[in-house]
């Protein structure tokens, strides 16, 4: 039994990487391994918006990550610097930056790059999906 963390940098709207990451996450969990944390960086953070609204007959990546994380107790962390730049913000950061509104899905948290480094040090494997 191994502990995994994932680094997801793939754009959820124009590439396949987030689909691949979810499939990989489901599979490792089904094999009895542990998923500690999924860290979203670069365009990967775009999946953390609760306003993402694909057509109703299509897969909702944001809700799929949220459901999976709650069921299997792992963390969904978006890097704060790249998230703010990309218009992904929680209420606290919105207020600090005088933005009118927020859009972070409640299953995700915003934090620093240190959470990636920690995931590297505390997991047996880190796999990147870009």
């Amino acid at each position: 039994m191994a502990t995994f963390s994932l680094l997801v940098t793939a754009n959820p709207h124009s590439s396949q990487g987030q689909f691949s990451a979810i499939q990989f996450a489901k599979t490792l969990i089904s094999q009895g391994h542990i998923l500690k944390r999924v860290f979203f960086y670069a365009d990967g953070v775009l999946v953390a918006s609760r306003l993402n609204c694909p057509p109703s007959d299509e897969y909702n990546l944001t809700k799929t990550w949220a459901k999976l994380a709650i069921e299997h107790d792992f963390e969904l962390v978006a890097c704060v610097t790249v998230a703010m730049k990309r218009g992904i913000t929680n209420a606290a950061e919105a207020e600090r930056n005088a933005l009118t509104g927020d859009n972070l899905d409640p299953a995700f948290e915003i934090s620093g790059l240190g959470q990636l480094t920690e995931a590297m040090l505390e997991s047996d494997r880190l796999v990147t999906f870009g």
Binding site: Q16, G17, Q23, K26, T27, V127, G130
Partner: protein, 85 residues
Amino acid sequence: MTTLYILNNPDLFQQCSAVLDENDGLLLIENAVVLAQQLEPKTAGFVLEEDLVARGLDSNGSWGNKDYDGFVALTLEYDKTVSWL
């Protein structure tokens, strides 16, 4: 240490191949699976079966087919993974 390279962009095959050591492996995923019909692997070469099926493709036989269970297992057989972007 041995490395599993994971390639998803067919345009970067030459770049990625240039750094492969003989004990390293290469796994083709996403749009890079099209290469499994066109090329031979230089070292241990694998292709993600679900991504082939999604596109209506087969491997040419010289790449080892891996499903997602095999993908997870591969990441543990090698000492680390490098996603070539």
